[in-house]
């Protein structure tokens, strides 16, 4: 139980302009789950990329089961028994789940031909064993982020590794799926194997990890036993100061004017008769399970997806939103949950990304860009959001995941919309910075902006929302006030299944198969 499975010592790693790791160490024991925590840009992902053969260390020693090793390539690392789930997905979007899981190890007939049937059967067996509810034939690019994450997990576990590294595996998951994942991990860990688990969600770490290693600014700080460590203690080590985690929604008032009113929204794919109001200066939380349709509501609001029916009323006037540009003209903005695909210009620099949305409104005169103004604004947000970047000219691709997320948030803050839809705004953001973003959201609300906050983290919903809209299977099942909202009742309404379960339908007062008012 206590002999080290994986040891890292004295590791340095620099990128142009950035020293990502300095004299780093780490010890993973056999049969344990080791949590790795640290602020955004602390160097967690970089360390994991060294272990999995994507980058090579400038200096340092690595030992696996007592043997020195150096992973020369991803393939080499896999052969050594180190499997990694990356923070950013590494799936092949045009291939199916089965094809992705066994990529590079496809069962063959002869040397060249593939055995598609066995591939399907193997995958089905694997998914069965892991209790992952995925269709082996589904095309990965068409899955939701959460399901893609499941594919990554299945793929990593299919290698039967000794060391399993998970870099923020739950950022896209909600409570239920996190629980599934944790069960998987518990079944996986046994003498001879170990898991390195990176996450910004403290309560999760508490539940799953045996020990926790804290790093800060690329340097090792401490390793604590989970049993004896308290969350505030860990957070204090991480960010160098204490954070109040018990805060409550601010400025909750029932007497606000309705800004945006949505009536009977439905889409071909999922949404059924979704109705809700958004009030001025309000933070309206959207809770629900994966696939409940929250993202689709957000996208429908800004015209990114086609509506089948329903009306949107803004300040008493009915509006039609054909595309996000029109939405922006009405002052409605949507921050996507998938920053890589829908949020960022990965190859462009920080400044260009932050200025993108507001370019025409704020940073141009006579068709030409006023770069100084844009730079000032970008610098301001890099400061207030504490975006860790060597310069405003750094390519966004080279930022850490959490800092990329902050760039997306900065873009929307700069744009200055009246109605903001934030879809999973704190995905991959560290606890310290999260608190700062909460403050910012509260400030925006206090200025009179109206915010829809879609989140899969119940604590975040409870921490921020003036009211909570709970969704299930494309329907709004309940709208709760801040006072009445709690873990239990949100979960209850999030798991109602009126289409399958008559009792649930009766509770919601709808006839099965027909759309009705919840």
């Amino acid at each position: 139980m206590t002999e080290p499975l994986l040891e890292v010592e004295g590791v340095d790693k620099s990128f142009p302009g950035v020293r990502a790791l300095h004299d780093m160490r780490l010890e993973l024991r056999s049969g344990e789950v080791l949590a790795l925590v640290g602020e955004n840009g602390a160097g967690k992902s970089t360390l994991m990329k060294l272990l999995s053969g994507i980058h090579t260390a400038d200096t340092g020693r690595f030992r696996l089961g007592g043997e020195p090793f150096e992973a020369a390539s991803p393939r080499h690392a896999l052969e050594l028994g180190i499997s990694i789930i990356h923070q950013e997905f590494n799936l092949v979007p045009h291939l199916t789940v089965a094809q992705n899981v066994f990529i590079g190890r496809e069962p063959r007939r002869g040397r060249l031909l593939l055995d598609e049937r066995r591939l399907g059967a193997d995958t089905a067996a694997l998914l069965e064993r892991l209790h992952l509810p995925l269709d082996p034939k589904a095309v990965v690019g068409e899955l939701t982020v959460a399901n893609q994450q499941m594919v990554e997990i299945a793929k990593a576990l299919s290698y039967e590794p000794r060391v399993l590294i998970m870099d923020e595996p739950t950022a896209a998951l909600n409570e239920a799926e996190v629980e599934t994942l944790h069960e998987l991990i518990r079944r996986f860990v046994r003498p001879g194997t170990g898991v390195i688990y990176i996450s910004h969600r403290m309560e999760e770490i508490k539940r799953i990890a045996d020990r926790v290693t804290v790093i800060r600014d690329g340097e090792y700080i401490d390793t604590l036993d989970m049993a004896s460590a308290s969350t505030p203690e860990i957070i204090a080590l991480m960010v160098g100061r204490a954070i109040d985690t018990g805060a409550k929604p601010e400025n909750v008032r029932p007497d606000r004017d309705v800004v945006l009113s949505v009536e009977g929204l439905s889409t071909k794919a999922l949404l059924k008769d979704v109705s809700f109001d958004l009030r001025e200066g309000e933070i309206l939380g959207f809770a629900g399970l994966m696939g409940a349709g929250r993202t689709e509501v957000g996208r429908a609001l800004v015209g990114a997806d086609r509506l089948d029916g329903g009306t949107i009323t803004l300040r008493g006037k009915r509006i039609r939103v054909a595309n996000p540009a029109e939405a922006a003209r009405h002052g409605i903005g949507y921050l996507s949950e998938d920053r890589k695909r829908f949020g960022l210009l990965l190859e462009q620099d920080v400044r260009a990304n932050i200025a993108l949305g507001a370019l025409r409104d704020q940073f141009t005169s006579a068709g030409f860009v006023r770069d100084r103004a844009a730079r000032e604004k970008a610098r301001e947000y890099v400061g207030t959001l504490r975006i860790k970047t060597p310069s405003l000219e750094q390519t966004v691709k080279h930022l850490s995941g959490g800092n990329q997320q902050k760039v997306v948030i900065a873009k929307w803050l700069a744009k200055d919309c009246d109605v903001l839809v934030f879809d999973e705004p704190t995905r991959g953001i560290d606890v310290g910075a999260k608190e700062e973003i909460y403050q910012l959201l509260n400030e925006l609300a206090a200025q009179g902006k109206s915010i829809i906050m879609i989140s899969s983290e119940l604590p975040e919903i409870l921490r921020m929302s003036h009211r909570v809209v709970v969704m299930s299977e494309g329907r709004v099942t309940r709208v709760l006030d801040a006072a009445e909202a709690g873990q239990e009742n949100i979960m209850h309404f999030a798991t109602l299944r009126p289409d399958e379960n008559p009792a649930d339908a009766a509770e919601l007062g709808i006839e099965v198969g027909k759309a009705g008012q919840p």
Binding site: S73, N90, G104, L114, T495
Partner: protein
Amino acid sequence: MTAVKAPARDRAQASGGIAAAVKGRLQQLLAFASLIVIYAFFSFASPFFFSYGNFTAILFSTVVIGTLAIGTTFVIIAGGIDLSIGTGMALCAVMSGVFLVKLGLPLWLGVPAAILFGGVMGLVNGINVALLKIPPFIATLAMMLVAEGLALVLSDSTPIYFNDVPGYTDISTGNLIPGVNFPNAVLVLLAIALIAGVLLTKSVLGRYTYSIGSNEEATSLSGIDVRKWKIAIYAFAGLFIGLAGVMISARLGSAQPATGMGYELQAIAAVVIGGTSLSGGKGSIVGTLIGALIISVLNNGLQIMSIPQEWQNVILGCVILVAVYTDRIRKKETT
């Protein structure tokens, strides 16, 4: 939680499976739609269009572009492009002449050698792209120029005639099926389309072709030697350049060193009209064949209708636009 959800999802999966299968079948049929509409139109518009002779003429005229397009389909699905196929074909034709006429190799040796020569050209392209990391457009553009020059140099800028190579022209113009007037060239095209189709969908090479085109980095991180496979893909596509060189010289009875320029654009057009995406990850051999046929049928039909030639291009352009547009709409509706 998972247990509660499972049944509903499974049902969705099952019905999705059947629906998907039906949809897939339907789409395969509908993919022919534009082609069939065009074919039907010409059949009504001209009394000379709809005949067995003209049918084989259309197929015959598709052989060279079709062969090039099939090879290029692999390269394009893998996210690359190959501009060297046109002049490369001319070079391979010349090499076929060098092997069979100048060196006097027997047919069974010279023809495979010429095809392999195409493979070597592809190999060089692949090395330039995968190892030297030169953008495919540039690497194959350079090869296009080199091949154009070498074809002239090696042939002394004169056509090489295959008169003294018995059986060579039969590769293209002979009739393998006795008694039926059906040129071998078309049989060759169908055979390689079949082989290429199987390799693309059922072989490791095909799988990695899609995978690299869809997400090269993820493929590499999954432990696949992307460089090796890229080289393999270009080299494989090169074999089709070689074969196209053999087919065109067998049809003409001579290797024409100065031909080929512009064929690459036609072949790429056939691939793209066939639904393969130039950004990689998507495409099929059937689609490419249909794309190549749409172009041939249009060319043939407009000529048969005696449309003045300067108008033929105008109409060709418009019909391609309409065909691709309706195809896009149709796909969107069935999906």
